[in-house]
């Protein structure tokens, strides 16, 4: 395992961990549902993407062929995250979940 790969993997892992944690913190502390929606769609998805990348490098540099099926997982995540965010937002608006007071503009009536 050559040193450069090791460092890259560690960096990606830490990056992934931090982002996942930040996404979760966002989810926990942000005031209303709609603001919380941003956390997972971006931070968590990127965090998991980083961990996926580290896994690709980890397995590819172990001289037994390349390990790239993780990429597919990331592709699926990037495809589905916005859709689930959208349908969740629609559901929240339907249930008239109140957004925090300093929000400019109003959600649409469902």
């Amino acid at each position: 395992m050559n040193p450069i790969a090791e460092y890259v993997i560690c960096a990606l892992l830490l990056l992934g961990g931090v982002f996942t944690l930040v996404g979760a913190i966002g989810l926990a502390r942000l005031p209303d549902f709609f603001t919380r929606l941003h956390g997972p769609t971006k931070a968590t998805t990127l965090g998991v993407g980083a961990i996926m990348l580290s896994s690709v490098i980890f397995f590819s540099t172990r001289n037994e062929g390349i390990g790239i099926s993780e990429i597919l997982i990331t592709v699926f995540l990037f495809m589905t995250a916005p859709v689930s965010a959208n349908i969740l937002a629609k559901a929240a608006m339907h249930l008239r979940v109140k957004s925090s007071d300093n929000t400019r503009g109003q959600p649409w009536e469902q």
Partner: protein, 803 residues
């Protein structure tokens, strides 16, 4: 064998009595008769079994020979009581006498044959046959004779006051049976002979009286003695016959009745009972004689003389046709013959019967018209005059008798039966009250109770393997799982919230499977998890969205306690089990998976090869469940609540754009993934189940995103056929080996090398897995789409074509 005919007679009598079905009391009488005689039969059944057990065989002569062995045996008293119970109920002894009079409802020929001559005598016959085996002991004497005495007195007394002709005859039969039983009870050989003799005599005169009563009934249309008077003028011939028979019943000299009654009186004197008791049998005998004479006198006088007949349904009565009287004449003639020439006429018959009863040694007895002037003769004269006296004062006796409320045994019996049934109905109603809560509680409590003992002495036990340390992520995950499980129980009233918590629990369970080296399980659990979520969401639509509080607090505390006990039990067992050393048959599978099964994923090879039959059963369960669900929902109409119970109506927009667009590419991609997982299943985690579930979920997404009708048009096949095809493939994969003489489900595999592609494996297990794949898809989709079709919108449109 005898027992079978015994029961048969009680059965036949039941049917015959109830011959006149429309009459309500005929039915009741019949049922009562069946119940009493049936019950007695069962007791006899037990008695005979006991005797058979003691003697070791059921042959009659062995039993008779082993008389003293039986009497000495510890079980003798029990056996005797049971046998006697059978005899007494059959021959209507006190206290089981009440059914006989009510059996009188049966039509005349039946009652004549059944209730006077044979069936009722069966009890006596039984005592006679088993006399040598059972008689002679103290217990026999007391039970038989006292019952006999009681029946004798009671029968005679009640007969007196019966206004119905047949009622009188019936009770007189009861009384005479009592007399015979008493004779057998006395224990002396001579008494037994007397008993047999009276059996013969009673049969003759009682049968003729019954037929006479039948004739009177036939001629006058009634049997009420108060209305039948002075028939002498109308049918002198029948009258004379009846009077002779009646006087024989009363024990008038020169008739057979007198002889056996005289022997009875003689025997009652011989009984050497200690002290004061010595006088009891003769007094009883005479008293019974008095009553007998009384009711015989009533039978003669009240019917044939005593003034004019009162509003008879058929008037004027006249002599019955010739053929009806012949049997009566024969019988009466027999009475007279036996009365006058006893030794000549009935001697040999009596001797044969007696020897059968006494097992050979018949005492010398002397049959003659009279035995000269002696005490028995005196007793019969006293009985004669006493009876006439009593009859003349009958009016006072009637008033005296009228004071007792006339108890109708039938009503009592019916009341008892209906009270029992009402009580039974109430009891079952209370226990089996149709509450699942209670049944589930009973089941859980029994399981806990049964497992408590062994687990209690297991206690908190850690086996020799000891505990391994916990890494804190696993610990945290376990804590989260426990928290969510308890939260599900706590918040189960908010149904949606409970389902989310349930999905979290499911997810962590899947992670646990992955954590403890079970990739196949993790994937299966995840896929099933999601399909279950979709299933629950589909059904939650129709359910109220929260559960009102239904059980009272003490009950909930009780349930909590039971749940905790069950939980601790499981924890104890798991802890003990996990830490005990373990050897299992798994080495075989690890060794033979590649060589024998042709795959490196041992779990998959076990599923499709080593234990393929389990999987065949399993996919059949899936198929049946889907068919059952389809059948259950086929024509069920369910109207969903307008909103989600929290005040929001359902929104109109069913298919958001973004979801529809994403669903388009997802299907081919998901299919690719499921093909990938299917093909690698044999060597890497994967296989038919998981691939099938992925394809089902992909198709479900189409149903969710674009609706039932849109998707249904694009699905070319019917799910029933997919299930059928799946099962067929599985069976073919298994049956293929039969052709080569190998057992069902034997797999074979080989490697094929193609120019470009190189070497790849072809296994029969692959076809089996394909069967699994298709069945899973067919079953999952048939089930969930059937629920989908319930919704009002799709229900209408899809009436046209069925899934």
């Amino acid at each position: 064998l005898m027992l079978i005919f015994w029961e048969l007679t009680s059965l036949v009598s039941f049917l015959l009595i109830s011959f006149w079905t429309h009459k309500q009391d005929a039915r009741r009488g019949a049922r009562m008769a069946l119940a009493v005689t049936g019950g007695g039969g069962l007791a006899l059944f037990a008695g005979i079994l006991l005797i058979g057990h003691i003697v070791g065989s059921y042959e009659l002569d062995d039993v008779l020979a082993a008389g003293d062995l039986i009497k000495a045996h510890a079980l003798y008293p029990v056996a005797l009581t049971l046998v006697l119970l059978g005899a007494f109920t059959k021959s209507a002894q006190f206290p089981f006498h009440f059914w006989l009079p009510h059996a009188m409802q049966a039509p005349t020929p039946v009652s004549a044959y059944l209730h006077s001559a044979t069936m009722v005598k069966a009890g006596i016959f039984l005592m006679a046959r088993l006399y040598p085996a059972l008689a002679g002991t103290e217990q026999w004497f007391y039970m038989v004779s006292f019952t006999g005495m009681a029946t004798l007195l009671l029968g005679a007394y009640v007969a007196m006051f019966k206004h119905d002709l047949k009622g009188l005859l019936a009770y007189s039969t009861v009384s005479h049976l009592g007399l015979i039983t008493l004779l057998f009870g006395m224990g002396t050989k001579l008494a037994a002979v007397a008993g047999v003799f009276h059996v013969i005599n009673h049969a003759t005169f009682k049968a003729s009286l019954f037929m006479a009563a039948g004739i009177i009934d036939h001629e006058t249309g009634t049997r009420d003695m108060r209305r039948i008077n002075g028939l002498w003028r109308f049918m002198p011939h029948t009258a004379t016959l009846a009077m002779v028979a009646a006087s024989s019943m009363a024990g008038v000299p020169l008739l057979n009745g007198f002889l056996s009654k005289e022997m009875f009186f003689a025997e009652s004197l011989q009984l050497n009972l200690p002290g004061l008791w010595a006088w009891l049998p003769p007094v009883v005998a005479t008293l019974a004689g008095i009553f007998a004479v009384a009711y015989s006198a009533r039978f003669i006088h009240d019917v044939f003389f005593n003034g004019k007949p009162v509003d008879l349904p058929i008037y004027p009565p006249h002599e019955p046709p010739r053929y009806m009287k012949i049997p009566v004449e024969i019988l009466v003639f027999a009475c007279v013959m036996v009365g006058i020439f006893p030794a000549f006429s009935v001697g040999p018959l009596l001797y044969a019967a007696a020897s059968a009863t006494l097992g050979g040694d018949v005492p010398d007895y002397h049959l003659s018209v009279t035995h000269g002037f002696n005490l028995p003769l005196l007793m019969s004269f006293m009985a004669f005059f006493g009876g006439l006296l009593m009859y003349s004062q009958r009016q006072r006796f009637f008033d005296f008798h009228a004071r007792f409320r006339e108890i109708d045994e039938k009503a009592v019996f019916e009341a008892v039966v209906s009270r029992i049934t009402a009580w039974a109905h109430a009891l079952t109603g209370r226990i089996e009250n149709g509450s699942l809560q209670r049944y589930a509680l009973l089941l859980v409590v029994s399981i806990v109770a049964v497992a408590a003992a062994p687990l209690f002495d297991l206690g908190l036990f850690v086996g020799s393997r000891g505990l391994t340390p916990v890494d804190w992520p696993t610990g945290l995950a376990a804590a989260a799982l426990m928290l969510c499980a308890l939260a599900t129980a706590r918040f189960h009233r908010d149904r949606f919230y409970a389902l989310i918590l349930l999905s979290v629990v499911g997810l962590i369970v899947a992670l646990a499977f992955a954590r403890f080296s079970a990739p196949d399980l993790a994937m299966t659990q995840l896929s099933v998890e999601v399909v279950t979520i979709v299933l629950l969401m589909l059904s939650l639509y129709y359910m109220p969205s929260w559960t009102p509080l239904a059980t009272s607090t003490p009950k909930r505390i009780r349930d909590i306690v039971i749940a905790l006990v069950a939980g601790t039990g499981m924890t104890l067992v798991t802890l003990a089990m996990l830490t005990q050393p373990f050897t299992s048959i798994s080495e075989f599978f690890l060794a033979n998976s590649k060589t024998g099964g042709g795959g490196t994923n041992v779990v998959n090879v076990i599923l499709v090869d080593f234990r393929g039959f389990d999987t065949l059963g399993e996919i059949t369960v899936l198929a049946i469940a889907a068919l059952g669900i389809y059948a259950m929902l086929k024509d069920t109409a369910l109207t969903p609540p307008p909103g989600d119970g929290m005040g929001h109506a359902w929104s109109r927009d069913a298919y958001p754009v973004l979801l529809r667009q994403i669903a388009r590419p997802m299907l081919p991609l998901a299919l690719m993934v499921s093909v990938y997982i299917f093909l690698r299943g044999h060597n890497q985690p994967g296989g038919g189940f998981i691939a099938g579930l992925i394809t089902s979920v992909a198709l479900l997404l189409q149903y969710i995103a674009s609706g039932m009708v849109w998707t249904q048009d694009r699905v070319p096949f019917k799910y029933h056929n997919v299930i059928g095809l799946g099962l067929l493939f599985a069976v073919i994969a298994g049956a293929g080996s039969l052709a080569f003489g190998y057992p069902f489900l034997t797999s074979s595999f080989g490697y094929i090398t193609w120019p470009v592609v190189g070497k790849f494996e072809v296994a029969s297990a692959m076809i089996f897995d394909l069967g699994v794949y298709l069945t899973v898809i067919g079953a999952t989709l048939l089930a969930l789409v059937s629920i989908g079709r319930l919704s009002p919108h799709s229900a209408i449109k899809s009436r046209r074509e069925d899934v």
